[in-house]
Amino acid sequence: MASVKLTNVKKVYDNNVVAVHDFNLDIHDKEFVVFVGPSGCGKSTTLRMIAGLEDISGGTVEIDGEVVNDLQPKDRNIAMVFQNYALYPHMTVYDNIAFSLRLQKMPEDQIYEKVTNAADILGITEYLLRKPRALSGGQRQRVAIGRAMVRDSKVFLMDEPLSNLDAKLRNQMRAEIILLRQKLDTTFIYVTHDQTEAMTLADRIVIMKDGYIQQVGTPEQCFDMPTNLFVAEFIGAPKMNIMKTQLLRENGRYFVTPFGSKIEVTGEKGQMLAKKNVPAGEILLGVRPEHMVLADDKDAAAIPTTLEVNEMMGSELHLHVFTEDGTRLIVRVPTIGLESGERESLVRGKKINVTFEGKVMHFFDPETEENLLL
């Protein structure tokens, strides 16, 4: 249990590639922080610098108030779970979990207690005497987590721990990590490229791109108020629809005019635009697929489109449609709201109208791609 503080942390590789620029972050005691971003964004590098597996080129990393820049990984009192499990193949599961405790010269009876306890929590008791190669992927990852668990370390680092598992197992393990977190009650730093994992696990999400932090915030903050276009498109699946459009201002009321329609900005977003006194002009308008709905063609807010792909997801349909100028939009339609026969009629080439409400829009500057409301 400890806080972790990164101040101006920088990573420059030998070939002068800068992987992480000026990373500043305060991670509180017992917080679950997720670093998320596309591959090559520097999230794993940052985690490895905290672990001590990469040299820190600039800035400081503090664990519990102590600068650890020059400490070996073994002296930092951290535990880490790796993407590819990194189990010692020549040792049994028991020995794998006991490895760190034996290095600490803990008495064997205490080791036994700790290992069996961890195995119990993770449900791997019956595999304790097996070698890793006799385990399935999910079981191996449990062993890796068990190995990190028994150490009572200050910080728990996880580097894409679920990426090697199949989709079903990943969902299951994600739920187990939430439970594990409640049991361990320690500081977690978790790296993933999967925004779903980030959203479901994190207290705070750190979204990174090209070595820079894009946004730090709770999942709700990142989802509801993305700082820029990158975050808006990265968080949420399927990704946010972006439309180039005009923002109009008439008598203190704001309107957007995507593809010939005219929709008033209402609710909180409308008030914020007025409060910030955002000028009229060209903007990038963002609307999440789940906020788009099918519309009547008589509606002034309707956007005429052509259906290209209809993805049946079970509880909902993902409709990929093209507007008249070729912009691609995605609409999420709950199947429960469709009338009988309507679902079957949604075939490729069908003309449909879509629209969205006035309170669900996001506005971005077309030049800087920053959120206009922040």
Partner: protein, 289 residues
Amino acid sequence: MNKTLEKRSMGLRASRAISNTIIYIILVIMSIVWLIPFICIVLQSFRVESTWQVGYVIPQKWGWDNYIALWNSDFKKWYLNTFIIALVVSVIQTFIVLCMSYTLSRFRFKMRNGLMRFMLILGMFPGMLTMIILYRVLKDLGLTQVNAVPGLILVYVASSGMGYYVSKGFFDTIPKTLDEAARVDGATRAQVLTKIILPLAKPIVIYTILTAFMAPWGDFVFARYVSFGTSAGMNVAVGMYGWLQLDQIGQRYTMFCAGGVVVAIPVTILFMCLQKYYVEGVTGGAVKG
């Protein structure tokens, strides 16, 4: 449809059986060819009716005489010399080679590539080229003739760092995340080597020990000029070579054969004990595979 499939699978099985048979016949012939000289030597070593070379293989009179004569000759001293040299060299050389391989496989430092290239080029020069200067140095150090044993150990061990290729290659195949996991778990670099890398690289450790033992065990050239005619400093190869000289071969030929058998014993035992590790791969299950 089914019938043609059946036919095809029959054909496959038949052709596999034929090719296996051919392979085994070739292997059997090859082993016989290789074993004949060794069997001849073993048979000769038990021949007691005469000590010279004869025109037949099966002894007319069997006995341990040659081995007893061996025990009463300088052979005992030579054998001990060889054994000490090979043992010490295999221990030191294995240690150096494994440390070297670990360093070159896992650490990134300036001139790492330069060093490896330098050693590669250095390795292209035959060791014999150093003979004269080595002799000079050893002589000045007083490590020749009677003191040939420490002298030879020095010579064999000196360049062991250059034999890192095979084990470094093997270490490179062990995933680095295992090192990292162990270091996070609290292991020092040395503990990573002894507790993780070496157990996983068992076949290559065995290979390193075997080659480090074999080279001085059978060496002749260096051993001959460092001992330089002094029986007390000779190894078996040099000592027994003396028995093949014209003036001795008549009395010593069967003893020579007995000596050959005795020399082969420890190496054979070593191989038989360690052979299974050669074939055993142990990295399965380390990372997702």
